[in-house]
């Protein structure tokens, strides 16, 4: 596998300009001759499809949801970072870059992160021009809030619905192009395979989720913006439909999968309450601006929180990380919460919970101010738990939220397969081993609005894809494989639903490949996962047919991929014999329980190459840090 990151030479700050200057262009009259497939319509996909449409390409956009507006980016709550320095608090492109590299525990690519910071300001400009109602001060100028892992206030927001508003902005731009005819939208359509002809990505196989029709779609380039794989854990903050299918099937066609073990566990989610639970709900990190995290000092304390006097409370984040306090980065805050719960100080029925308390903020700012900032989050919390967070502290616990790993891409966001581009959470490039809050929205939109339009033109102009027809043997073979898999699922006629396998896998993954991972636990998983998979193919039960709307069948395909992908993830976690960011190997920790990196052996991206039934090959892309010093990450 060739892994050329194609990072431009020269000073960090000039790399992107240099790259853009060197790129080939496609003339306006030639753009309409190219067809580009964009899979996924979240922030990355919708912004890419809209922008490519605006430029004049023929775009075919796909999403499995019933409307592009429903992609899971919509659920992002807290905000989007941008180095605007509107607050005059010392922010700069360089500082956003530094925070992001450090936040990622030095496992991301310097050049990509710097470009992200450079572009961040333009995203805000673009969003405001589209009518995204970002929060404002009485002056009429834009407001900011603080987020974890930063000591400046650089997060732009729209109440607790920033993802929704930014996605609706991208969706409106996409809708405009659909109306104009440059983008053809295929909603309720799922990508089931990638097709490679002469070594280049030339199309996909899709299933219409309403009619069951399988189709071959040809293009000159394929863009995947299909999000992350957090649902491998079954319970996560992801939407129930989120899945790994598109990226995993691309991996099986030869695309490298980078750092699959890098998973983000978000510290502030509503704790699990029962076996019936179908998903976990995030409470935005922005709440940590005003909420204080604590547990009772006394173990197994059953008193109600209001009965526990101040001196008997352990504000553990403020105690352990005085300079960042409650705004410690996500991986660190999550691990600290797990630690105090493991020690027996957790709260709630299960003991797996900590308090997030707004009493002092309400006393300081008044209930109205708090309600203005977080009203919708407080309401949602109350609906789910039946407790009023204005009166009783919230109970929170970490949950799987985001995946930093993804398909390997070069500086141009192109995978190792020419013509296959990967954007947003689906790629691996910008967040290293831990993503900072409010950076996912930034990356998705940077990739879609401001990177792919340049780099895809360069690819098309340089490679001039040859003409092919839908009867090319690669398309026929890929379609047959998809048809056979579906027939196989329907023919098993066993006794268990796809969900039951998903749940079984998820529990195991959370236990042994979640917040704390050990050699022993991971090795155990490597023998257990194939057993579940085996039973899946013997005992799966799906009613109905393939030529109709069939949600069980959709789910079966996704679970089948999770069952294979999980093994890759565990393998990666096992071979990354160090702790970094969200990847915490219990064997590697400092005396006070912090992650202990091994820079000598692991300052690289692990890129996995599929080998059929054999063990996948692990390749390395060495990470070179020329502008930051690899330091122990300290938030103390």
């Amino acid at each position: 596998m060739q892994l050329d990151s194609k990072i431009p030479s020269g000073p960090l700050a000039d790399k992107w300009d240099k790259r853009k200057g060197d790129m080939k262009l496609v003339s306006p009259t030639n753009k309409r001759k190219y067809r580009i497939i964009v899979v996924g319509t979240g922030l990355a996909g919708a912004s890419a499809a809209a922008t490519l449409g605006e430029l004049g390409y023929n775009v075919e956009a796909y999403c499995f949801q019933d409307s592009p507006r429903r992609a899971h980016s919509i659920a992002a709550q807290g905000g989007i970072n941008a180095a605007k320095n509107y607050q005059g608090d010392g922010d700069s492109i360089h500082r956003l870059f530094l925070d992001t590299v450090k936040g990622g525990d030095f496992r991301s690519r310097e050049a990509n992160v710097y470009r992200l910071a450079q572009i961040s300001g333009s995203i805000i400009d673009q969003a405001v021009a589209q009518g995204v109602p970002l929060a404002r001060e009485y002056s009429g100028l834009l407001a900011n809030r603080s987020f974890g892992g930063a000591q400046v206030s650089r997060t732009f927001y729209a109440r607790g619905q920033t993802g929704q508003q930014l996605l609706l902005g991208a969706y409106s731009a996409l809708s405009r192009q659909i109306g104009l005819g440059t983008v053809k939208m295929h909603a309720r359509t799922e990508m089931l395979d990638l097709v490679i002809v002469n070594g280049k990505a030339r199309g996909i196989i899709t299933r219409d989720l309403v009619t069951g029709k399988i189709e071959r779609c040809i293009a000159d380039a394929v863009v995947l913006a299909t999000g992350g794989y957090g649902n491998v854990f079954f319970l996560s903050t992801n939407a129930t439909g989120c899945n790994v299918t598109a990226t995993f099937r691309a991996y099986k066609k030869g695309a490298g999968f980078a750092n699959p073990c890098f998973t983000q566990i978000h510290p502030t989610c509503i704790p699990v309450s029962g076996d019936y639970q179908s998903k976990l709900t995030l409470m935005s990190e922005s709440l940590r601006n005003d909420g204080r995290v604590w547990v009772p000092k006394q173990k197994a304390d059953t008193r109600s929180p209001s009965q526990i006097p101040e001196e008997e409370r352990d504000y553990f984040l403020e105690r352990k990380y005085p300079s960042y306090g409650n705004l410690a980065p996500r991986d660190i805050a999550s691990r600290s919460a797990k630690e105090v719960c493991d020690e027996g100080n957790g709260v709630g029925e299960t003991g797996l919970g900590v308090y997030l308390d707004f009493a002092s903020a309400i006393a300081r700012l008044g209930k109205d101010k708090i309600s203005e900032r977080y009203g919708n989050l407080f309401d949602m919390y109350e609906k789910i738990t039946n407790e009023n967070p204005y009166k009783v502290p919230m109970r929170i616990y970490p949950a799987v939220h985001y995946t930093m790993g993804g398909l390997w891409v070069d500086y141009d966001l192109q995978s190792n397969i020419p013509g296959l581009f990967v954007l947003g959470e689906a790629n691996f490039s910008d967040h290293g081993a831990n993503r900072l809050g409010a950076s996912a929205l930034m990356q998705g939109l940077a990739d879609g609005y401001f990177v792919i339009p340049y780099t895809i033109a360069n690819y098309l102009a340089a490679s001039k894809p040859e003409k092919i027809g839908a009867d090319a043997k690669e398309f026929v073979e890929a379609e047959n494989a998809v048809q056979n898999q579906i027939k196989n699922f329907l023919s098993i006629k066993g006794k268990r639903s796809p969900s039951s396998f998903h749940q079984q896998l998820g529990k195991l993954m959370w236990e042994h490949c979640g917040m704390a991972r050990s050699k022993e636990g991971l090795t155990g998983l490597l023998s257990k996962i194939p057993e579940i998979r085996e039973e899946f193919y013997k005992n799966l039960c799906i009613s109905g047919a393939d030529s109709e709307f069939n949600q069980q069948l959709e789910k079966a395909g996704r679970v089948a991929d999770f069952l294979e992908f999980a093994e890759l993830m565990v393998l990666d976690a096992l071979e990354r014999d160090e702790s970094c960011g969200g990847h915490f190997r219990v064997e590697h920790q400092t005396p006070d329980g912090e992650a202990l990196r091994n820079d000598k052996d692991f300052t690289h991206v692990a890129v996995w190459e599929y080998q059929g039934s054999k063990k996948p090959l692990r390749h390395k892309e060495q990470l070179v840090f020329e502008n930051v010093e690899l330091a122990t990450r300290s938030y103390k």
Binding site: Q161, G179, M185, K495, S543, Q552
Partner: protein, 248 residues
């Protein structure tokens, strides 16, 4: 809890459909309504029966995918709540619960409780945007926007496009949905430039899709999970009137 569900079953768009009685036993009051349906489906699947098709995704009340008319009320009995955030604690043991899809000509049923809401997308495609292409925009702080107007725009922009307003309306009118987008964009300086064009195109598309007219019964506001105000409809009417008289 033990519940008697009366669920709308419809094989596809061509089928006439019927209610089916399904018993739901062993329901935990802390479950969400959709988790209750998950459990019912799990039992149907393992007894070789066809599970109930229903739309859902984020399960935190923001994506707008879930629907369901529950005991005649879109999104069920709790105010300002989507079905996915409705919990079984709001029902009693032994309750009979009637579960139907959104009913509107412009939302044809795909299967059981799943409907096709692409008519909403086509209304947005007709004009629910600001015609700005990517790049070349000025600094975001160049045009100040009064906090009041911006907050009102945000109130309207909070619409999740679920379609409850249409399902609740006896005329199956989409006025609340359309007015929310018109209000959001026309309140902002960036959106004023094309406000006449926008309102005319969106209303034209709304009518072409087969949505009914608005007779101010305000059912839409009552069921809206995001509490979008009917005052947006007044704004829409005003904008439409001005545009129809002076713009074309």
């Amino acid at each position: 809890m033990k519940l008697n569900l009366k669920v709308w079953r419809q094989k596809n768009a061509a089928d006439t459909g019927h209610f089916e009685s399904i018993e739901a036993d062993g329901i935990n009051p802390h479950m969400s309504f959709l988790e209750m349906l998950d459990l019912v489906n799990e039992r149907l699947v393992t007894s070789n029966k066809e599970p109930i098709a229903f739309d859902h995704d984020c399960r935190e009340g923001i994506c707008g995918t879930c629907s369901l008319t529950i005991n005649g009320v879109a999104h069920g009995p709790e105010a300002a709540t989507t079905t996915c955030l409705l919990h079984m604690r709001h029902f009693k043991d032994g309750d009979e619960i009637l579960i139907e899809p959104w009913r509107a000509k412009a939302f044809p049923v795909i299967k059981d409780l799943v409907t096709d809401r692409s008519s909403f997308d086509r209304i947005i495609q007709a004009g629910g945007f600001i015609s700005v292409s990517c790049g070349g925009t000025q600094d975001a702080n160049t045009i100040p926007v009064s906090k009041t107007e911006s907050d009102l725009a945000m109130d309207a922009a909070a619409c999740i496009g679920c379609g409850a307003c249409v399902a609740a309306c006896k005329n199956a009118s989409a006025m609340l949905f359309v007015s929310a987008k018109v209000a959001h964009l026309s309140r902002l300086p960036q959106g004023k430039m094309e406000k006449s064009r926008r309102v005319l195109s969106m209303v034209r598309q709304m009518e072409a899709e087969g949505f009914g007219g608005c007779t101010n019964t305000l059912e839409c506001e009552a069921v809206c999970p995001k509490s979008i105000s009917v005052s947006n409809i007044a704004l829409l009417n005003r904008e439409y009137m001005k545009a129809a008289l002076f713009a074309e």
